[in-house]
């Protein structure tokens, strides 16, 4: 046996492994969800009618296929509750991502301009919050924002307000929580592109007569667009499906799709509708992902 063949196999496995992972832990579970989304609710355990039962043979499968229904999806698009949830999710994600970009870009830019040895320190500072449990950090915010919390006490002490302000259970609190939690996901990809940008490019622009403001908008920002796109996607997509932060910090008058999903699954025990909502969410999120994919491919082609 030649040495080449021995080494060829692990190499081939390494190439297949990610696909295997995707199939096992994403595609198969997604198949289950899709199947449930096409079935009917029943009061049983599990709370949906099996769409097909392999033990009853081919005829039963045919009957089941004929009985497949898109009722759940029809319900999703016809009922205001779901449509509004989707819309709210998209709006919250868009607003949060915009705030994240506006806050994250200067941070990343500042980090990239630090002397080398301080850059790694700054990087650690950005990542350090991850070492504490996410839930504990959100609960800490509840503590800070509550009626007699730190924030209100400081505001009262400084005589900026005369009575405690209601922060908790508002959209402001939710946005604060989201921006706080997702900031590293915006900062790190931006930092990565800005740090590897050749400083001579900005010097060349100013040498050719561009004011510092123009240097930024004509050279720095356009060249950091891959990082901007990565940061936006890394934040936007998970925020659309965010459940914990709006549940703990926002009011209960309007729900994000993640919360609606939770309600359908655990309160209403309507697995088929919840599954349908999940499938639709995924389809919705595929749009920006495909857009990003195309952008990346174009860049790769441009780089050749």
């Amino acid at each position: 046996m030649s040495a080449r063949r021995i080494f060829a196999r692990p190499a081939r496995f390494a190439a297949i492994a990610p696909y295997l992972w995707m199939v096992l832990f994403f595609l198969v579970p997604f198949g289950f969800v899709l199947k449930i989304s096409l079935s009917q609710t029943v009061i049983a355990q599990p709370p949906y009618s099996p769409v097909f039962d392999l033990s009853e043979g081919f005829a039963a499968i045919r009957a089941a296929l004929a009985a497949l229904s898109l009722d759940n999806f029809r319900l999703l698009v016809s009922d205001d509750l779901y449509v509004l949830s989707y819309l709210r999710s998209l709006v919250v994600a868009a607003v949060s991502t915009s705030i994240l970009l506006v806050i994250g870009y200067p941070i990343a830019y500042g980090m990239a301009r630090l002397p080398r040895r301080w850059q790694s320190v700054a990087m650690v500072l950005v990542i350090v919050p991850f070492w504490t449990s996410f839930l504990i950090r959100i609960y800490a915010w509840i503590n800070i924002l509550q009626h007699d919390g730190l924030l209100n006490r400081i505001l009262l002490a400084l005589h900026l307000v005369s009575a405690p302000v209601v922060w908790l259970s508002t959209d402001s609190a939710m946005y604060l929580g989201i921006v706080y939690s997702y900031l590293p996901f915006m900062v790190l990809p931006l930092y990565a592109t800005l740090a590897k940008m050749e400083p001579a490019l900005e010097e060349a622009a100013s040498d050719l007569g561009a004011s510092p403001r123009l240097v930024f908008w004509l050279v720095t920002f356009p060249l950091s667009l891959p990082g901007v796109a990565a940061g936006i996607l890394l934040c936007f997509i998970p925020i659309v499906g965010e459940f914990v932060i709006p549940d703990l910090l926002a009011g209960s008058d309007s729900l994000m799709i993640g919360q609606t999903l939770w309600l359908e699954f655990f309160t209403n025990k309507d697995w088929p509708v919840a599954s349908a909502a999940a499938v639709l969410l995924l389809v919705l999120l595929l749009v920006p992902l495909l857009f990003y994919e195309r952008l990346q491919r174009r860049q790769l082609e441009g780089g050749r």
Partner: protein, 393 residues
């Protein structure tokens, strides 16, 4: 900084400060660097440096890495601000001006082309910032593209160009604004040897045609010698010598310059005047060497004699000291220890009887080997007093 600027000069810069009466300083020079200091931490990158550069000159700043030449160039461009001193361009102090306000452009070492812009937009970048009308921009870009022979490549992005093409785009971009002074930071370092030689010629031709002032920073002395009218040799933040390439090589002002520029044989010794109006230097390694220099060099008690290898001739027997060969007074005997054949010339290392090693390079003027010497051969090395430079040790 502003405080320093507002301080009146105690005295206008005296004309007598420049000992060289070579150039008639009727007009003020285009660029005057006056007592410029730049410190980074504890390091004085540029140390009280003064230099005049005339309009239309091709000036080279030459020096080993870390000598401060790039810092000086970056101060001219505005990327660094001098701690002290003035930089006068057309008589106006630009030392504290921001880069985008200076009538100076720079060609960067790795070109720093904007990767997201086409060749045309790279060249037009500076013109747009100058608020030039669109039709004029188009005309100027076309002119620049023709100047550096990039026709047909206007729509390409920098990463679709070869190294030589990128270099020409960078050149066109920095020339497009017609700067008063063009700064070039190691303009040829990224090119391979063949391309470097042809580009050298193109740069010189371009500079002559445009009549523009070029200041080029390089660590490559051949490049500086080939292209520049004047060379400033820098070491440790100071200018060691400013001279034409020929002066620099044939009349180095210090031992450091003699050793840095080209190859040299050095003999240390003590000088005394000679009856023939020359200097006789009693050296440890090569006996007494006669140098045809005025004895006013004799202010120092310890000197060294510098002789370039190509001035040292070898022969089997020394030439007779008759009237015809009176210049062959410096003669040293030794054994050839190394022969390096380089095509156009051959470099010999001769171990003198004192143990010192002398280098001689001889042009291979004949194709056949009759004039060559071989290892272990005993030879006489001789050179004329005219070819000796006496320097401080």
């Amino acid at each position: 900084m502003a405080e320093q600027l507002s301080q009146p000069d105690p005295q206008p810069v005296a004309e007598s400060a420049t000992p060289e009466p070579v150039t008639v300083a009727a007009d003020p020079p285009l660029l005057r660097i006056d007592g410029v200091v730049k410190t980074f931490g504890a390091v004085r990158a540029v140390d009280r440096l003064s230099l005049d550069i005339g309009a239309g000159e091709f000036f080279a700043l030459l020096g080993p890495s870390g000598c401060g030449k790039t810092t000086l160039l970056r101060m001219l461009a505005g990327f660094e601000t001098p701690d002290q001193g003035r930089i006068l361009l057309d008589g106006k102090d630009i030392a504290q001006m921001l880069p985008h306000q200076r009538p100076v452009n720079m060609m960067f070492q790795n070109y720093a082309l904007f990767p997201h812009l086409s060749v045309r937009d790279n060249i037009a970048f500076g013109l747009k910032r100058a608020r030039m009308p669109g039709s004029e921009i188009a005309a100027r870009v076309a002119e620049m593209v023709a100047l550096v022979r990039l026709e047909g490549l206007e729509k390409r992005k920098p990463d679709q160009l070869s190294g030589g093409q990128r270099q020409r785009v960078a050149l066109a971009r920095s020339l497009a604004r017609r700067p008063r002074v063009l700064l070039l930071d190691e303009p040829l370092a990224a090119l391979d040897k063949k391309l470097r030689e042809s580009t050298q010629a193109e740069l010189m031709e371009l500079q002559r045609r445009l009549g523009m002032t070029f200041i080029v920073v390089t660590h490559d002395q051949d490049e500086a010698m080939t292209m520049a009218d004047h060379i400033g040799v820098m070491d440790q933040g100071r200018l060691e010598q400013v001279a034409t390439p020929r002066q620099l090589y044939e009349a180095p002002r210090s031992r450091w310059v003699a050793e840095f520029v080209g190859d040299v044989n050095l003999f240390e010794g003590e000088p005394r005047p000679d009856e023939a109006g020359r200097i006789a230097v009693a050296t440890r390694d090569a006996g007494t060497i006669f140098a045809a220099e005025p004895p006013d060099t004799l202010t120092k008690t310890k000197v060294c004699v510098a002789v370039r290898p190509e001035k040292v001739k070898l022969s089997r027997r020394g030439p007779a000291l008759d009237a015809g060969h009176a210049h062959a007074v410096n003669r040293l005997e030794g054994v050839v220890t190394e022969v390096s054949y380089l095509g156009g010339l051959t470099v010999y290392k001769v171990k003198l009887d004192s143990g010192a090693v002398l280098r001689s390079s001889m042009a291979n003027t004949a194709r056949l080997e009759t004039e060559a010497y071989s290892v272990a051969q005993r030879v006489v090395a001789w050179f004329a007093p005219d070819d000796c430079v006496v320097l401080e040790q």
